[in-house]
């Protein structure tokens, strides 16, 4: 395509946006509202994800060795655990260290156990994929010198279920919103196309290619998408920045953290702009298609 044709398409698309100012306003606001909601959802989801990740990374399996096992047997068990598929790291803690931890949390009465320690040595195991914790734990439980395996089975399973469901629900909501915006844009463009139906017919009859007819409308969709993305980008950037500045110092050292503003805000803005452009292009593409069959 020649440069002057491209600039013609640009002029045409901008002219059409100005000429149909009410429809432009309607679809730009539709995109604005949609992207604002999508943006807020993404902010919430990404931060929940961060929380989920830190909770997940906190999940570990405590393997208690048979108290009767001697040092060599425990070494062997540790080796075996280390070589188990899906295991990320293993930290050894001797029975005496275990008892000291217990004394610290339950009080000095337990000191009397120092004479004959009833505890076994312990191994603290982290799975490469926290969601695989149960599988790894089950496997370790079958080893010879394993006395007990603990990882808060029910709690962990419930946690994973909640996290996974909320991720999926968020994703579905975002998709539904995007779909609505596409529908609204394609309706707007359809109205501008109907108004220009005669023009399109003549273009086709004098030998315009489909692309020649289509491109101004696609560009129009791009402008609508960009215009619709600007306000959500500004609102979300400013609010998240304020939120972060206000809360970040208070949350230091807690399990729940806020995502750093950089690069998160830039990525989010890029994504919103991309989504705006994408729904614009897709919306106009769908509505022009029907009118090209002359």
């Amino acid at each position: 395509m020649k440069a002057r044709t491209i600039s013609r398409h640009m002029r045409e698309s901008i002219k059409s946006i100005r000429r149909n100012s009410w429809m432009t306003f309607a679809s730009v606001s539709a995109v604005t509202v949609t992207l604002l909601l999508v943006g807020v959802f993404i902010v919430i989801m990404m931060n929940l994800n961060l929380l989920a990740d830190s909770i997940e990374n906190d999940v570990e399996i405590k393997v208690i060795a048979d108290p009767a096992a001697d040092e060599e047997a425990v070494k062997k068990l540790e080796e075996q655990v280390r070589n188990t598929e899906g295991v990320l790291e293993v930290v050894y803690s001797s029975r005496d260290e275990e008892l000291n931890t217990m004394i610290k949390s339950f009080g000095d009465e337990l000191n009397l156990y120092k004479q004959s320690n009833p505890l076994g040595d312990a191994l603290y195991v982290k799975a490469k994929d926290p969601q695989q914790t149960a599988t790894v734990a089950k496997k370790i439980n079958t080893y010879d010198y394993t006395d007990k395996v603990e990882y808060g089975e029910e709690k962990v399973n419930k946690l994973f279920k909640v996290l996974n469901t909320s991720r999926n629900v968020g994703l579905v909501l975002i998709l539904a919103l995007l779909f609505t915006a596409m529908f609204l844009i394609s309706n707007t463009i359809r109205i501008t196309i109907v108004a220009r139906g005669k023009e399109i017919e003549i273009m086709k009859l004098v030998g315009a290619t489909n692309n020649f007819v289509r491109i101004p409308f696609i560009l129009e969709g791009v402008w609508l998408g960009i215009l619709g993305a600007i306000i959500p980008m500004v609102i979300i950037s400013v609010s998240y920045n304020n939120l972060y500045e206000h809360w970040e110092p208070k949350l230091r050292g807690q399990l729940f953290q806020l995502l750093n503003t950089t690069p998160f805000i830039y990525q989010l803005n890029g994504l919103l702009l991309f989504m705006g452009i994408f729904i614009g292009i897709w919306g106009s593409f769908m509505s022009v298609r029907k009118f090209l069959k002359v």
Partner: protein, 228 residues
């Protein structure tokens, strides 16, 4: 130039508008297509520039077989054909010059060439003085001249006209016919569907009569030949 072989056209509603049409039109011919309303004249014309596709049979225009023509190549077919309509089909927001230039912009001609070609055809149809006027400021005959100018600005080998004088008074119709005669004299093939008995009987050319989706008569220098 134009060949139709066993062309059959059935619309989705069951109407058969072409029921085995065979015809050959040579380069530089001037052909009238006549027939009562609903006889299949419009379909006959529309199939030539592929606004309608034939159901079966071959239509060959300027060496291109429309039966096997892929949709994306239709624009290139249409660039070799000029089409003139009864209702002119001008863009109301563009002036005379722009309406004609539009046909060249669409096929991405250079601005210099557009200027030269548009000025040439406007001179041919006698509208140089009115180049800056808008369609609603023109008479019917003038609007049709703009439409003709647009159809020939790309120097097509064939001009297809669907009742170009249908909306015009007799005097203006003669004016329009004079322009078609001039275009034909330059070697352009012209196929014109018409209801105008006087024109067909006065400016004698080949007459193809269509009725019931069939060619009922094909006569060089023939007459209009039926009532209505």
């Amino acid at each position: 130039m134009i060949v139709m072989k066993n062309v059959y056209k059935k619309y989705p509603n069951g109407v058969v508008a072409a029921n085995g049409i065979n015809i050959e039109i040579k380069r530089g011919e001037f052909v009238y297509v006549v027939g009562p309303s609903g006889a299949g004249k419009s379909t006959f014309i529309k199939m030539m520039y592929r606004e309608e596709a034939s159901t079966t049979g071959d239509i060959i225009i300027n060496g291109i077989n429309l039966a096997t023509l892929r949709n994306k190549h239709i624009p290139y077919l249409r660039r070799q054909i000029g089409v003139v309509f009864q209702d002119f089909k001008l863009l109301p927001k563009l002036n005379v010059y722009e309406n004609v230039a539009f046909a060249l912009e669409v096929i991405e001609e250079s601005p210099e060439e557009i200027r030269e070609k548009v000025n040439d055809v406007l001179a041919l149809v006698g509208l140089t003085q009115k180049a800056r006027m808008f369609p609603n400021e023109l008479s019917g005959g003038e609007q049709q001249r703009v439409s003709i100018a647009r159809s020939i600005v790309n120097v097509p080998k064939v001009v297809i006209a669907d009742e170009p004088t249908g909306n015009l008074d007799p005097e203006t119709s003669w004016e329009i016919m004079r322009i078609f005669e001039q275009i034909n004299a330059r070697g352009t093939t012209i196929v014109m569907a018409t209801h105008n008995r006087e024109i067909v009987n006065t400016i004698r050319h080949r007459v193809i009569a269509v009725d019931g989706g069939l060619i009922t008569r094909d006569e060089y220098g023939g007459e209009y030949g039926y009532e209505g």
